[in-house]
Symmetry: none
Subunit: 238 residues, 4 copies
Amino acid sequence: MEKMTSRQEQKIRTQQKIVEAANTCFIRKGMAYTLITDICEEAEVSVGTFYHYFNNKNDLIISQFKKFDMGFLEVAHRLIDNPDAWDSLIQFAHFFSRDASVSDKTLTLEYLKARVSLTVEQLFPRNRPYFIILCTVIYNGQVRRQLRADQTPQQLADLVMAATRGYNFDWASMDGAYDLHLRMQQDMPILFEGFRYREEYPYQLCDPAAVIPVQNVPKLYEQETAQLREYCESRLLR
Amino acid sequence: MEKMTSRQEQKIRTQQKIVEAANTCFIRKGMAYTLITDICEEAEVSVGTFYHYFNNKNDLIISQFKKFDMGFLEVAHRLIDNPDAWDSLIQFAHFFSRDASVSDKTLTLEYLKARVSLTVEQLFPRNRPYFIILCTVIYNGQVRRQLRADQTPQQLADLVMAATRGYNFDWASMDGAYDLHLRMQQDMPILFEGFRYREEYPYQLCDPAAVIPVQNVPKLYEQETAQLREYCESRLLR
Amino acid sequence: MEKMTSRQEQKIRTQQKIVEAANTCFIRKGMAYTLITDICEEAEVSVGTFYHYFNNKNDLIISQFKKFDMGFLEVAHRLIDNPDAWDSLIQFAHFFSRDASVSDKTLTLEYLKARVSLTVEQLFPRNRPYFIILCTVIYNGQVRRQLRADQTPQQLADLVMAATRGYNFDWASMDGAYDLHLRMQQDMPILFEGFRYREEYPYQLCDPAAVIPVQNVPKLYEQETAQLREYCESRLLR
Amino acid sequence: MEKMTSRQEQKIRTQQKIVEAANTCFIRKGMAYTLITDICEEAEVSVGTFYHYFNNKNDLIISQFKKFDMGFLEVAHRLIDNPDAWDSLIQFAHFFSRDASVSDKTLTLEYLKARVSLTVEQLFPRNRPYFIILCTVIYNGQVRRQLRADQTPQQLADLVMAATRGYNFDWASMDGAYDLHLRMQQDMPILFEGFRYREEYPYQLCDPAAVIPVQNVPKLYEQETAQLREYCESRLLR
DNA sequence: AATGAATGAGTGTTCATTCAT
DNA sequence: AATGAATGAACACTCATTCAT
């Protein structure tokens, strides 16, 4: 059993080494110009070994997206438990874009660009974890009359997502020329102003059972999503 | 003189033929998978001829962006002369994204994705034509107390541009899965709600002379930009 | 260990096969007109394999020069131990040009022409093996009063080298129109007549420690040169 | 007739412009890397015009050799009339290599390299002008008992030529790393020492009528060679 | 599990040359 | 005589992927 463990450890360590080497190369030469052999050299691993762990470069890249997404779960509680839903939306945009400052900027840019061009549909399905969180936050905000309720939480969540992602992509398309966080700090309050509850808007809460979308959970996220959904459902205001 | 003309005409016709063939191929196989030879076959032109007109595929692609940009000038008047500045912002977002519906959708997607990965900084400088238009529209809106004036026109224009471009890129990242125009029709009024003039905001008009940015006009646009700037300056409300 | 050996053997065999195929092609079509694919076909190897072993055609050609140079070491002993130094100079010229008769004449011509145009300065540095040999031979000849001693061994060695190489290049420039060895047999005794010791010349032996030049040994030859230098130093007459 | 002249002048001027442009390019980028279009751009002439005057790049290059050769005729008199034949041989080597210092060094290198690799047999035929001069000088030296007469003037002339050309090629192969003229000044007296008349050598003058070779005058030189031969014959000592 | 030699289809690019204007 | 648009064969080199060891 110890042997098994040491083998498994070895396995994970090698895979980890490859991923890190890949990121180092991505930063150094850019994703498009990083060759399999570059990664192998950097990881001090043979080409054969690379193919033992990944089918190809894209496979490796996609495997990284989960990490980005999952890192986000940590803040779910804070967003959901924030009594000010409108502020939560602002926070959401910031958390979503945290990679732009937290990890290496160049690397974040590379992954953002990859997201646009890779066109992996599974990449941004409605029910990816943060969409669930967002719907919960918005619904609760509607209940508390902090957010407009003339549209369903999912519709508004789509809007928040599109604006947030858009800001990320735009920043990437400008090659990170400006400080994304600073810009978001200035801009999001203006862009999200329209989300605030106003008397003049119709007020129409949706069925609480329909707040959290259910379709098409990619297997990659199945487990984590199940947990998250349960938590969110338990926090829905009635 | 006739001789000159016939040669020049021929030249333009050939170049045009290549561009159209390229777009046909981009739609058929995608930009990344379109070979120079594909384009040449489609255009019924030799490889040498292609390289006589363009340095490479990227060169051709970039040359197309100018066309997209310049096509936008046609609507400048409508936007600037629209008495409702807030509505102009909404219209702007629509016009900016018109390619998504006007020309072939696949082609638009290809170009949008290309924009993200090309990383041509010159692609979106502040004073590209529509930025000038936008500043004009916003300033006039501020003068008319239709738009908030606690930020400079340029700051707000940046915001509008980022949101609009972001929406385009997001749509592209989803591979055009939804109807961009429909979504914009629904979402922009909400996102731009925060631009409206409100009594509670500070009201601070900027120096009219500083409305239209002047730096770094890329040579590609020099001529057209000069004309446009003149027009915009003449339309600024005092 | 056996496994290692079999792989390494295979590697050397493949590389050898490529080199031989290249030479076959050079003879058949000339260096300039030999394509990488020609070599690969002849060697029954894929293009990729060629590039696995060499960066390009030039790389392969340069790698061959070492072989030529190193083959020369075999005669070092004979030249140095020859009691008649003047005769050694004549022999040197012959040995240096032996390829012109030993291996294929066409091939030798091709390599000579390549040498002229390659402009690899490292190709003929002063301390390339035969320069060391030559200095030793000349110094010993000066000690024995067989060769003039009004110039340093290095100066005279330069002269011998230039004349010898020059004869080779000239022969190449005439496309091997005459028999190089016959010509050398006739001409070298006349050209080298001036190297003989004569009473009327000043006689000035240089410092034995300075006979063999030390600077800039190209890495390619480091090891072999070290051995050779040691040998030559041990044979210097005092 | 004036029109004709002006046309012809124009023609010669254009051709001259092309040649000069070519040389400029050769210096700037090297012969091998100079494209026809480079030359045309430099000459401010269309590609079509280039092909109007030359068949190809080689054609242009070969056309230049004549100039080099003919420039040499100027010194013929000085060499032939020099009472010291041995000194004339030394002078010959210098004059032959004068381009190395007179015109642009890089250009000279390029042409020398071209000579080796072009393999134009007509390039160095025995009876190229300077061969005739050399035979005359040597024969007269033999008559005056300044030069050894155990070999025919043509044999010795071959030797002088080979050594001289060889020195040039060697210099070129080293990419002009040393000062050719300085080296020649030092080395030629040693290398040519063996040409001196000595009592111990057999003395056998050849038939004066056979001194100057007659075969294979390339058309390119026909005219000038005829004049030169006549002059040389008139200067032969009897 | 790890290696790395071998593969070869794929593709961008070059550039001398032609010929209609 | 001069132009320069058009040609297209020619070629070097890449790099993801396989598989025997």
